[in-house]
Symmetry: C2
Amino acid sequence: MTPELAFQDYYPEDLAQCYGCGSHNEHGHQLKSYWDGEETVARITPKPWHTAIPGFVYGGFLASIIDCHGTGTASAAAYKAEGRTPDTLPAFRFVTASLKVNYHKPTPLGPELEIRGKVLEIKGKKIIVSAEVLVEGEKTVSGEIVCVQMPDTFRLTQNETK
Amino acid sequence: MTPELAFQDYYPEDLAQCYGCGSHNEHGHQLKSYWDGEETVARITPKPWHTAIPGFVYGGFLASIIDCHGTGTASAAAYKAEGRTPDTLPAFRFVTASLKVNYHKPTPLGPELEIRGKVLEIKGKKIIVSAEVLVEGEKTVSGEIVCVQMPDTFRLTQNETK
């Protein structure tokens, strides 16, 4: 059986370098997000050095995975809204306009983290996603990501990318 | 002349492991924040792999340095509010209750980033800080960090830290 591809596996190769979720960034977190019914889910185990206070996960890591799960969810939701599958063109790639993260309690470092996302709103090129981080079923962090379809200002010319 | 110590250099050794700003985290960003008049400032150059879309800085990295500059600024402000220097005890260490980040435009990857902070409010154990990221003088990102003095739930017992 072929393993299911993640939302991020459908990003065009030149846009799959993201430190948080790009499959072509060997230094990064390589977060992978999937549909789970109407919600989306990603699972990741932080490295021992992704710490804040010893024993707990670094808040910047948690913000990062919420961010990438949000933009990944937005791209998946955009395909769904158009009634087409993510292996069809044109490819969707969303970036973050704004990010809010609430840290409800310390997130223990060690266990796998589950990130669950919900699409709150689709309005043209803007998609709003909510997300939660759970450890062994307990919510520690929640967030909201305002995603926008990647504007042309993000595109480098051929020369700049070399 | 002795170089000026950063806010984070005064964190107690067992609380200086943070991936974003801990001087004892060899894998991390080791952000260092200082007073600059009434504002605070930090400067950091992202690594080439801290990318989002090629040529631009990863939003999670930007959220991370805003977060750490916020909690660092909060600790410095707490010492100042008590009229004592950061080499006196008890040490202040703040954690993030919530974080908001607005991405106004893409942040080019390559140049040094300047992060400027302002203390908006000090209310008991809660300190609110605003922050901006500038590249060559131009603001690309802004944020607000609600910081709280580290609660006891973050303290591990002696056995757990071993």
